[in-house]
């Protein structure tokens, strides 16, 4: 548990670790109070989360983005390893970045289109060859698998072969379901129907995985409350915890 990480300093005679556990526990209970209904405690936790998350993103962007990528190389090159002087080429992205802020001035807000167009153009240009390679060619390659793969003792692995066949049928039938240029009748209709079944299997598996991910988070929070927080008020249930 990150919130139970060891810290040794004290504030007003209380260990910062204990204070941290209490803060985390009270916020956890405030959020779970929503199960009873919308209430001020939940709203408080929710609004703290918004403020803290945005500030966290801004601070990390400053230290991990702007400082090492722009401020140090351009204004403080002595802090950059192997730098021979200010990196003046960075004036271009700085100006483009500042142009985004022209949105605040209605008369000149059209200037903000330049950096947006630049970033969108780069992203669009890069996505074309990457999509063809990663999402089409490699996926096709990954679909063309042997139907009779070698198994143990020099024989064939029929189960994997059946799975590979199912993979091909699944891809073709799913694509058929999304093919809207012809009526789904006859063979096309039947293939499309099989495609729906494959999609249902994929959605079911996706749903099951999502549920399990949420449940594991819930287990983590309950474990924190039981094994980290309760011992601070003298209730020891054993199991994993800080103490």
């Amino acid at each position: 548990m990150p919130e139970a990480a060891a810290t040794s300093s004290t504030i007003f005679g209380l260990s910062t670790q204990i204070i941290g556990i209490w803060v985390a526990a009270l916020l956890t209970l405030a959020i779970y109070s929503f199960l009873y209904g919308d209430n001020p405690a939940y709203k408080l936790g929710e609004h703290i989360f918004v403020g803290v998350s945005v500030a966290y993103g801004a601070v990390i962007l400053w230290y991990e983005g702007l400082v090492p990528l722009l401020i140090n190389p351009l204004f403080r090159p002595h802090l950059v390893e192997d730098a021979t002087g200010p990196k003046y080429s960075l004036i271009i992205p700085m100006v483009l970045g500042l142009l985004i802020l022209s949105r605040f001035v209605p008369r000149y807000d059209w200037l903000s289109r330049w950096p947006i167009a630049f970033v969108m153009g780069l992203g669009a240009g890069l996505s074309i060859p990457r999509s063809v390679e990663s999402y089409i060619l490699r996926q096709m390659h990954g679909t063309m698998l042997p139907l009779l793969p070698p198994g143990a003792n020099g024989g064939y692995d029929f189960l994997t072969g059946f799975g590979n066949l199912l993979l091909v049928v699944g891809v073709v039938c799913t694509l058929t379901y999304f093919y809207f240029s012809a009526r789904h009748e006859g063979l096309l209709g039947r293939a499309s129907r099989v495609g729906i079944w494959f999609l249902m299997v994929a959605f079911g598996a996706g749903f099951g995985n999502t549920v399990m991910a949420r449940i594991s988070l819930l287990i983590g929070r309950v474990q924190f409350l039981l094994y980290d927080w309760l011992p601070t008020i003298g209730i020891h249930l054993g199991g994993p915890g800080v103490g």
Binding site: V54, A58, P93, F207, M212
Partner: protein, 207 residues
Amino acid sequence: MRLQVPIAIGFLAGMFMIVQYFVPHPAFKTAYDALEEWVMIIGAFALVLGLQSLFQTHIDKIRRRREGYSYSFVTLISFAVMFLVGMIYGHRPGTLFDWLFDHVEVPLDATIFSLLAFFIASAAYRTFRARTPEATVLLVTAVIVMLGRVPIGELIHAKLPDLAEWIMVFPTVGAKRGILFGAALGGIATALRILLGIERSHLGGGR
């Protein structure tokens, strides 16, 4: 002019990215790395727009004394405290900023997402009433995958985890790959529309 220049900028930037992908020359690699950094720098400035939107929403709510406006104070104060602590003390492990992240942000984030476990359960009850064969397939697959990933699944049947894994590796991948092909083709078409200036919604309205 106000529209043609950004369209030209987008076209040139996009064409460069396509060309550099096929030219394995060090000069192109250097230019690509530089452009990647430029995008991150420009993106950092864009955060100011997001912050402005957040502040405007909450300050407006406070000024007009809208319902629940007191919580807007909470958001603004939380932001100010976390931001100032980060800027003054830094963000390295062991700092006050790191402490706030571990004891406020992490628990809130995990708890809010775990809250979904309860709502997803009620959604599952409504969704999984197997009225059609397709819904039955969805229900059975979800149950197998869920049970296959917890210890009780193995107690029910020793092969249940293997079956869950098999479902994830073969039929699920088949369907997902079919969706992926369609999404990739759609993404390529949209990218081409942006490069050629047919798609202009990202440039906003006006002349």
